[in-house]
């Protein structure tokens, strides 16, 4: 019994070491944590859950929308909800692509709207009425609010800057 427990512990430690090695060596593009903590961006609180999907199960998150990302070389997406001043809710999606070109492909696929405007953020960014999208290297970030609210654009942009600051160069 004792031998079995020790063997299990050994396997667990080996697996943990392997994960550490993989995280440090093999996944340099991986973002450690792109999500600002509650209060890190004025007025914004992060939801409890952060969910992640890879290319294989991305459809569970965005259904047929996954195809576009897979074609562009998506590695995965992490997503978390935020709340601004206790009311305005938004979702932050951080897509990691295999290469910068993939993020550009997705970004460029969205036609501008009459009320959208380019903003200085990352490599390229566009602010819409209820959302902001930007790319930085192989990362594409989409922040979407679920309702219109006064001052929403400024709040979303502030959160976007908070996320951008946590992305690795």
């Amino acid at each position: 019994m004792m031998t079995k427990v020790m063997r299990s512990k050994g396997v667990a430690i080996a697996a943990l070491l392997a994960l550490v090695v993989l995280a440090g060596v093999g996944c340099k593009k991986k973002i450690a944590d792109p999500f600002p903590a509650s209060g890190a961006v004025t007025g914004w609180d992060k939801g409890e859950k952060t969910q992640s999907f890879n290319a294989a199960n991305l459809y569970e998150y965005i259904d047929g929308g996954a195809e576009q990302y897979i074609s562009a070389g998506v590695v995965g997406v992490s997503t978390s909800d935020y709340k601004f001043q206790g009311s305005l809710e938004a979702t932050v999606d951080v897509y990691t692509m295999k290469a910068t070109g993939g993020a550009k492909t997705i970004f460029d696929a969205d036609p501008p709207t009459i009320d959208s405007k380019s903003v200085p953020l990352g490599d390229a960014a566009r602010l819409y009425g209820q959302s902001v999208v930007f790319r930085k290297g192989p990362t594409l970030v989409r922040i979407t609010a679920f309702e219109a609210a006064p001052g929403e654009g400024d709040a979303l942009l502030a959160l976007a800057h908070g996320v951008e600051g946590k992305l690795q160069d």
Binding site: D63, G64, G65, E67, P111, T113, Q130, T144
Partner: protein, 329 residues
């Protein structure tokens, strides 16, 4: 509650069939007369908050159902649609979160009418593929006995045995197979593969392997999937929430490409529903200066396939669709 007289009929196309009653043979796909599609809109549907006005949603639902069934009171249509003792489920499209999902107010109103028609609360199931999606759309998961259940197929599970039709081999959600009647509750969205997703595409949420059916514009997968007997026969009515539509960038919620349609669409013919839905999205795209779905490379081939001689799921022939559009004053 608004009296029907308080509604103003804006436009009636195919008014001659108003009192005739569409003869749609379930399981045979035979359209003997024009397929009716009723759209009711209410410009005052919205409140300052994110949720629509509950009373106006109920009024809109009643008006749409009474118009469709030529009924004199709000409960009568439901008595034609369901019978006491049946298990009735509402298949949502909640994937896009609460901004582009059937509203809680609409679902609540439907559950109330079903109970007034004799369906026990415990025999009503509100569901979608993922529990997470239901929660994101504002529904509280619940499996309490005797109450309306809110559950995802991920929790309820799928049948062990696969079913097939044409290009499709899949396992069905147990919620579907255990339902006597399914009410399809889609939302109106552009879809970057199929052009428009509404009634038929929503059936991707009743199976275990939707990701395997997105090639070639989901064609003929969507039509074949809807041919599977359990889907074709049990999914008897469509109540589409048109509060918000997405005309570009779908099927996810894209506020920058969304608009307020502030309406409700009902009907039995899933192909006719999708045909009219495609027209609405195309109209909006034109208003926004975008190219057509065909030009974009997402032709609506699955709708034509569903209407073809092999499938006969309904009609995509506008001459055989009686579109009744009304607006609440």
């Amino acid at each position: 509650m608004q009296n029907r007289r308080e509604f103003v009929k804006e436009m009636v196309a195919g008014a001659a069939v108003l009192g005739a009653g569409t003869k749609y043979a379930w399981g045979q796909g035979k359209v003997a007369e024009k397929s009716r599609v009723v759209i009711v809109r209410d410009a005052k549907l919205r409140t300052p908050g994110p949720a629509p006005d509950e009373k106006r949603v109920t009024a809109m639902l009643d008006h749409a159902m009474q118009t469709y069934y030529s009924a004199q009171n709000p409960v009568q249509p439901w008595k034609q649609l369901v019978r006491p003792g049946q298990v009735v489920s509402l298949k949502m499209n909640a994937l896009g979160g609460r901004a582009i999902a059937p509203s809680v107010a609409l679902v609540t109103a439907i559950c109330e009418r079903l109970q007034q028609a004799g369906i026990k609360a415990g025999d009503i199931v509100v569901w979608d593929r993922g529990s997470r999606d239901l929660e994101a759309a504002g529904f509280k998961l619940s499996d309490a006995p005797g109450a309306v259940r809110f559950v995802g197929s991920d929790k309820a599970g799928y049948e062990d045995a696969a079913v097939s039709y044409g290009s499709v081999t899949t396992k069905l959600s147990k919620i579907l197979t255990q339902s006597d009647v399914v009410i399809n509750m889609p939302v109106l969205k552009n879809h970057n593969i199929v052009g428009v997703t509404m009634a038929m595409k929503n059936m991707y949420g009743v199976i275990n392997n939707p990701s395997t059916m997105h090639g070639t514009g989901c064609n003929p997968y969507i039509a074949d999937l809807n041919m599977i007997p359990q889907i074709r026969q049990k999914v008897r009515f469509v109540i589409g929430d048109l509060k918000t539509g997405v005309y570009e960038g779908g099927p996810t919620y894209r506020p920058e490409y969304s608009w307020n349609e502030d309406g409700l669409m009902v009907g039995e013919d899933r192909v006719a529903i999708d045909t009219i839905s495609a027209q609405i999205v195309e109209r909006k795209r034109a208003e926004e200066g975008l190219n057509t779905l065909d030009q974009k490379g997402t032709p609506l081939t699955y709708i034509a396939t569903a209407a073809d001689a092999q499938h006969k799921l309904g009609t995509n022939d506008l001459a055989r669709i009686a579109l009744i559009e009304q607006r609440i004053a």
